[in-house]
Amino acid sequence: MIELASLSNLTAQALGTFVPAILSDATSNGIPASIAAPELRWAGLILLLPVISAVLCGLCAAMRVKSKLPGLITAVSLVASFGLTLWLFLSLSNADGPVAARTVHLFDWITLSWEPTHQHAATRWTSVTAPFALYIDSLTLLWMLFVTGLGSLIAIYATEYMESDVGKGYARFFGCVSIFLFAMGALVMGGNLILLYLGWEGVGLASYLLVGYYYTKPSAVDAAKKAFIMNRIGDAGLALGIFLIWVNYGSLEYSALFEAMQGAGADGASASWTREAIPYLIMLGAFGKSAQFPLFTWLPDAMEGPTPVSALIHAATMVTAGVYLIARLYPLFELHPHALETVAWIGCFTALLAATIGMAQYDIKRVFAYSTVSQLGYMFLGLGVGTSFGAVYHVFTHAFFKALLFLCCGAIMHGMAGQLDLRKMSGLRNVKGFGIISWTFLVGCLCLAAFPFSSGYFSKDAIIGQAFASDNPNFNFLGWVAVLTAGLTSYYAFRVWFRVCGGPTKYEAGDEVHSDADEAHDDDHGHGHAPAATTHHAAEHWHPHGPRIAINAVLLVICAGALLAAVPAYNAMSGGSNWVQRMVAHSSAFEGAQLHDAHGAEHAHHALSFTGIQDVHTATSVVASVFGMAGLLIALYLHLLNRSAADHLRNGLLSNSLTRWLPIAMENKWYVDEIYHWTFRVPLWALAHVSHFADKNLIDGVVVNGVARLPMDLARLFQPLYNGVLQGYAATMAGGLALILAWVFWIWMQGV
């Protein structure tokens, strides 16, 4: 107990005590003014290298290269890219002082300027300028470090993982990965919102192409489509937000924008709805990309892509873009506390929702997909309650451990012929070649479950602690929800591990979907699957095969990364400063003074005061650890020690009419997809049909053809006169002549 207390003090130091000092530093300076740094133009290479690699991959595809060359190219260029990022980081970071933001102008992209028409708009609102420029501050560097780092590691992993596709989709895969890295780089390093938007859509594209990598599988195609469209909804929000930012702040470049935002209260502009709407629209974009509540359903489906993709894009990097966006625009959000509270609510709700779904999934990749959604919810909670550091730190740790978990899943899938059902695998730790996988898997699960003193533990507690530290009772409530979710997280993480790696050794082969789909059906008339070949394969000649050096090495490196991600926190505990926190504090994501005025870490009363622990973060870690351990123990009992109890419990819930909805709803993902289908897609689809019908029959049929038909019908009116008999025509003619004569002689001439 004493030990625990001392530890918690250390934790408190790590997480809390440095905050005021750094904050005061940051607040006094504001966001450091950016420095134009033309000498850093070489940083553009970080973006250029993936582009070159993408082009080369494209050439390989065109030349039908049948070797691992594309993978090699990509891996090399991404590693080089990482090296450059590291170099950039090292060259910019000095011992302790803040890293001043640098802007590097590469070339003009969109430039449109005009003479000012308003007197008071002489400086801003005179141009729409979006140069291809980089904005490099500590947040950028932090993000780019793990993006390029994990990117290159996963590329190396994929060179082996994708080897069965060599000569077929191999070049395509790596080309898309390169495009992704370029887009992600543009998103993170871009010096203005338009460039961010380019990256934003670019990663969406890469995600689309990679999720749909197994394009012969209709489910993969649908998943890709769904991912892109749902993202597009978010993107639309983001785009609107960007426009409104321009309208309200007059610029799109970060450096000018932050300046404008900091002076936002002073420029005398009334708080119009356009200004109020900005954070909500930005939020929509962030939620789309980061799979938060209204727009989260695409992420689990996106697991149709190859596993390295899931690890890289759908766990570590792309999905955190939403967090990056809000962190990047934190000054904006701080102007709108209600928006931040919304972020917190939605983040927390998503965390809980996704955790409950994750508990009931059998596909291990899906479990971790929901887990990703859930953890992203934590990050947004962190942003919402005001600890951008906590959010970013969680992004950082999560990138490692979740990538690790996915890569482990991928390795298992690779070795088990595509098997992902946790009911069909058991005791893999004893299978030859799966040792490294199992133990790195365990490390991942520990981090995910926030096992004390793992990296996830520190980052998650930074978030939850901040929630409890708040004066806002809503945030305290959210904190409790988050703690509960932490317990659930722990449960489902270990449910997977105990099921798959623990217990007696037992396994079935999967259907080899990911590698055989192309191979088996490259004949001219093959459609879909060739089941005979596969079953044959599975039944007689199949043995699980462990991964080779590339996968194992990468697993170990990322495992190390996941463990080492806790180092900044330990560093802080031991009296140093948390490196991540320092990075965040010197960027635009620093937590502004107004959020922390009322609730410093030191104050006496907080929501967890009943535990008797003075420091809120310590109290949080104790409470959360209790919940986490509870989850772990339940998982241990249900899924390792007494597996039949799990089924028993499930049956018990199902048989009780009061509770039977719970497992059904959870297993069916709370029917969110179905609700969307019936509330949005179907009415819209019906509207489309109505539109089509109206267009074809009403506008074209009645109006247009009607106008065209009018003369015809008019003619039909006189048709009886033309009865075909000569004398009929003659009578008409003569009558007409008589009438004309009568008119001429009796009327017209009288008037002349």
């Binding site: 609107l240 321009w246 093959g526 819209l684 689809w685 539109s691 247009v704």
Partner: protein, 555 residues
């Protein structure tokens, strides 16, 4: 130099058409390809020699050939930077369309290529015209070659399509002619130094409050817009387009989407907006709402199409409404965006039509339910298809994005409540609804990709049979086809990443030709109306002078 090049631009296509008419059938396509390529080279030289890039002014070429001097009707040529860009676009697409038809057209080749060259002459004429009558003549005459191209070389419903196309267009543009003539007659009556059909003169005349009253301006705008709206096409008058696109031969669709539809937008920009600012401002919201309906309606319709070509055709409607929305934001940003959109729509939709044409040549169907998973069969084609689809849905980094972005930006900056910004008349709400169109466009385009490019392979049952009969076309794209699509792709990428060389001249051009707008728009925003003489002095003058001199003169 510029003058002779401009004449060459007009004459060369006509001469080549004549040459094709007298040449042996075998050489028709080669003549067409060669002459369109030469025309493209000339247009590049023209653009190179063009002096108006930085000034933005409409650069008269001093190329005036009187036709009816007593009525002031001349063939007078001139170009603004915007016009030069459209000329470049047209001349760029033509050789590609011609080369793209090599295997598709095997009967009546001479007619086909000759009509196309005539069409090119009319298109270049529209973009070069500085005389209202010459403009209108080219504007209308383009219908004739297109009519024959659809009626002879089109699909199953080609007759109905061609007739509808022709009559619909003709019906609309008669009103435009009426508007132009009204302006000219008023000019004659009020200025009194004879007739003039010079576009700049007429535009300057009719936008002057001393000459045109509020209601006159209003009706001039309505008249001019009627024809242009059909061409654009705006929402309720768009129904000719899907049919015409669907039935036209591939190259016809390419040119229709790439250049012909731009007549409408160009006309709005070049004539309707500058000539009748009052009408434009007062009707602005009406047209913007029409655009919005068009965007969403057409996008939704795309969703339920089974025919790829129809889908792209409807998406064209949606896109052009988007473009016009940008233009009707009546400010520099939106109008620039509209122009980028015009060019980019020409490129990406044209390329999509080419892609679909290639599929049609191989499978003889455009039905999405019969085709699927073609990536397995034709990866190179699929690459281009995906590429241009993405460009069409406005992926940043490709050409479509710049225009789309600026159009939306135009609507936003025109916000009434904004702190500041470039004045305009629309607000965020317009853009918000337009964005819905973007979402739906992503939806239908991806569904299209999902059906024909991805998924399990589906080919028409009789494919093996027909492909042998049809031609020696390879399974995937031939080198010729790749070399058609590659330039478009490269240009798309270039524009996507470096649109600046286009943005600056367009901006200048807009500042020049819509010079009166910022002030008027600002005034309208503040007062809700414009100070404009309700009845100009013209009425009395008109009545007294109408009877005598005009009649006598016309004898």
């Amino acid at each position: 130099m510029l003058k002779s090049l401009s004449y060459l631009l007009l004459l060369l296509p006509m001469l080549s058409a004549v040459a094709i008419a007298f040449a042996p059938t075998k050489s028709a396509k080669w003549i067409a390809a060669a002459s369109t390529s030469v025309i493209f080279a000339i247009s590049v030289m023209f653009a190179w020699a063009f002096t108006g890039w930085s000034s933005g002014a409409i650069a008269p070429l001093d190329a005036v050939t009187p036709i009816l001097p007593e009525f002031g009707i001349n063939i007078s040529l001139g170009a603004s930077s915007v016009g030069v860009m459209l000329i470049l676009l047209t001349a760029f697409l033509m050789p590609l369309a011609m080369i793209g038809s090599f295997t598709a057209i095997r009967e009546r080749e001479k007619e086909y290529y000759a009509w196309f060259l005539v069409l090119e002459a009319t298109m270049l004429g529209v973009f070069l015209a500085r005389d209202a009558v010459f403009f209108y003549t080219c504007f209308e005459f383009s219908l004739v070659p297109m009519y024959f191209l659809i009626a002879i070389f089109g699909g199953a419903e080609r007759r109905a399509a061609s007739i509808k196309f022709f009559i619909y267009m003709f019906f609309g543009s008669v009103f435009t002619l009426a508007g132009l003539i009204y302006m000219a007659v008023q000019y004659k009556l009020q200025i009194g130094n004879g007739w003039s059909f010079d576009l700049d003169t007429l535009v300057a005349f009719s936008s002057n409050p001393e000459h045109m009253s509020k209601s006159q301006q209003f009706w001039i705008f309505v008249l001019l817009m009627t024809g242009f709206a059909v061409k654009v096409p705006f929402f309720p008058v768009h129904t000719w387009l899907p049919l015409a696109h669907d039935q036209a031969p591939t190259a016809g669709s390419v040119i229709l989407a790439g250049a012909l539809l731009k007549f409408g937008t160009y006309g709005v920009y070049r004539i309707a907006l500058p000539a009748a600012p009052v009408g434009a401002i007062e009707l602005d919201q009406f047209f913007a709402i029409i655009c919005l309906i068009g965007i969403v309606n057409a996008a939704l319709i795309c969703w339920v199409q089974h025919d790829v070509k129809k889908l792209i055709a409807y998406s064209s409607v949606s896109h052009l409404c988007f473009c016009m929305l940008g233009m009707f934001s009546l400010n520099s940003v939106g109008t620039t965006g509209a122009f980028m959109y015009m060019i980019n729509h020409g490129l990406s939709t044209g390329a999509l039509f080419l892609c679909i044409g290639m599929i049609y040549e191989r499978y003889h169907t455009k039905d999405m339910d019969k085709l699927g998973g073609l990536f397995r069969r034709m990866p190179v084609w699929s690459f281009f298809m995906v590429f241009f689809t993405l460009s069409s849905l406005g992926l940043p980094g490709l050409n479509g994005f710049v225009g789309e972005f600026l159009c939306l930006m135009g609507c936003f900056t025109a916000d009434v409540d904004a702190v500041a910004g470039y004045p305009g008349l629309l607000g965020p709400w317009y853009a918000i609804i337009a964005v819905l169109g973007l979402i739906v466009s992503a939806m239908y385009l991806l569904i299209m990709l999902g059906k024909i490019v991805w998924g399990p392979l589906r080919e028409p049952l009789d494919h093996a049979h027909t492909s042998h009969a049809a031609s020696a076309l390879p399974r995937d794209l031939s080198l010729r086809e790749i070399s058609i699509l590659t330039p478009i792709a490269l240009v798309s990428l270039f524009i996507g990443f470096y649109p600046n060389p286009m943005l600056a001249p367009i901006g200048k051009d807009i500042e020049e030709s819509l010079a009166s707008y910022p002030k008027l728009v600002e005034e309208y925003r503040q007062n809700g109306s414009l100070v404009w003489p309700e009845s100009a002095k013209s009425d009395g003058v008109a009545r007294t002078e109408l009877d005598t001199p005009t009649m006598a003169k016309s004898r």
